[in-house]
Amino acid sequence: MATLKIPTPLRSYTNGQVEVPVEGANVAEALEHLLEKYPTLKPHLYNDEGKLRPFVNLFVGENNIKDLQGLETPLDERTRLILIPSIAGGRCSPCFPV
């Protein structure tokens, strides 16, 4: 199963899980599956209009999904997704409290 690596500040929303197994044929499905399991993570990744927040960077393996097929980027069993937050000093997005 593909996995998604969660940065530390967001792990409180994934029961402390570091690498969360995700199911789906592409990134969009994997995120849907992730948020079904951990619904409180949703406002950190999506805005009120249901769009992925622009400062949320998702990598499939070593590559930014923006350089691939975006949310349509296909996944296979061995894919490792990494969520990269934008951080500066004591500040972090998407780690804000909601």
Binding site: T8, P9, N57, N64, I84, P85, A88, G90, C92
Partner: protein
């Protein structure tokens, strides 16, 4: 034509002998370092190890930009400073330490905020920039300065247990804006450093940053151009991802439309400098002495929106604790008819809590300006400040 490299004195040959023994550095490399210059923006957690190691390595001229003074709460991670320099200017404290470590280098101290007005002029005479800032506006400013001047920007950023390092060098690869085209909206980023950081984390990340700067200046190895290092101290994991130039990048792309420095505080919607004590704005704040006086006369509900582990450090009697992150879901526990004062550590989270309460129909709420730390300073000196 390469400029003539400076020679090394007998003392310098001895001082740098462990570098001279490495073929990748050698005498010529050490002369390159002596002839090079680095500007370090921020002399805090990251700037401390960066400046110490670059000075020790013999970078001929080091510039330090900061406008803060040393505070005891810095010393858990800002190891360039010491107890003896508490209250002194950070750039002067750092400069003295660097010159003690290596009197053969020049250290220039810029005791001022790095701004759109002075950044180009300060940076122009340095070969490389090192971003050790703690806020988004200065990060975007540093990036844009590096792009406009065609200089490498060794970037590092830390948060709690996570660190990131890259070399943003628009001549050869992507810039910071290629990865993060726009800053997070201000409402989603607490505007003061309440996040905390493991003290050793900037040590780990800052020494990697210094390593990258030395590689770039020496022209050896494979600097992190087009690559981002992600470090996690809890997992002890290092991940690398590839970064590509963004063809739509507004500062380094082919159709770049930002050609000069902008107002970065406006761009990010948050102040880059001087974190004013957490305030909810005119009419919504109450100062610690005012609150103390009100509590003598009236019944006021105190709502503490900090995390439970912070209550072990300091607390106010009879306060109800609902952490900010859970407040929206727990509004039913509060009575909007009751007079209420919301507080946190320094007033930032409570200002957000107040916004949330007001938008939910609460009208009789105030924010304790400066938080429980202001209370400790101005009302109850027995409480610790953290």
């Amino acid at each position: 034509m390469q400029p003539m490299l400076p020679g090394l004195t007998r003392d310098e040959i001895l001082r740098y002998s462990r570098h001279l023994l490495i073929p990748e550095v050698g005498l010529e490399g050490q002369r390159k370092l002596k002839g090079s210059s680095a500007l370090i923006i921020g002399t805090g957690g990251l700037g401390s190890p960066v400046a110490l190691y670059l000075a020790a390595a013999g970078i001929g001229r080091i510039g330090l930009v900061d406008y803060d003074v040393v505070d005891s709460s810095n010393l858990q991670r800002q190891v360039i400073h010491g107890t003896a320099t508490i209250g002194k200017l950070k750039v002067e404290s750092a400069r003295a330490r660097l010159l003690d470590l290596n009197p053969d280098i020049e250290v220039e101290a810029y005791n001022q905020p790095f701004t759109s007005e002075n950044a180009m002029q300060i940076s122009r005479d340095y070969d490389i920039l090192l971003d050790g800032t703690d806020n988004f506006p200065t990060r975007y400013l540093t990036n844009d300065v590096a792009v406009f001047l065609g200089k490498p920007n060794v970037y590092a950023s830390i948060y709690r247990f996570d660190g990131q390092v890259s070399v943003f060098y628009a001549k050869q690869g992507p810039c910071y804006r290629c990865l993060f085209p726009e800053p997070p909206p201000p409402g989603l980023v607490p505007s003061c450093a309440e996040g905390g950081v493991l003290g050793v984390l900037p040590g780990t990340i800052g020494t990697i940053q210094a390593t990258e700067a030395l590689k770039v200046l020496l022209g050896i190895g494979e600097p992190l151009v087009g690559k981002l290092l992600l470090y996690n101290a809890l997992d002890m994991s290092f991940d690398f991802v590839k970064l590509k130039k963004n063809p739509n990048c507004r500062v380094c792309g082919p159709q770049a439309d930002i050609r000069e420095l902008i107002d970065y505080e406006e761009f990010c919607g948050v102040p880059g400098h001087d974190h004013e004590e957490g305030s909810a704005g005119a009419g919504w704040d109450i100062s610690a002495p005012e609150l103390a006086a009100r509590l003598q006369q009236d019944h006021l509900k105190l709502l503490d929106v900090r995390e439970p582990h912070e209550l072990e450090i300091s607390a106010l009697p009879n306060a109800v604790n609902i952490p900010l992150g859970t407040l929206a879901a727990r509004l039913s526990e509060l009575d909007s008819a009751e007079d209420m004062v919301v507080f946190c550590k320094a007033g930032t989270r409570s200002a957000r809590a107040l916004e949330l309460l007001v938008s939910a129909g609460f009208k009789k709420v105030k924010n304790l300006k400066g938080g429980i730390n202001a209370w400790a300073r101005e009302v109850d000196p027995a409480l610790p400040i953290y």
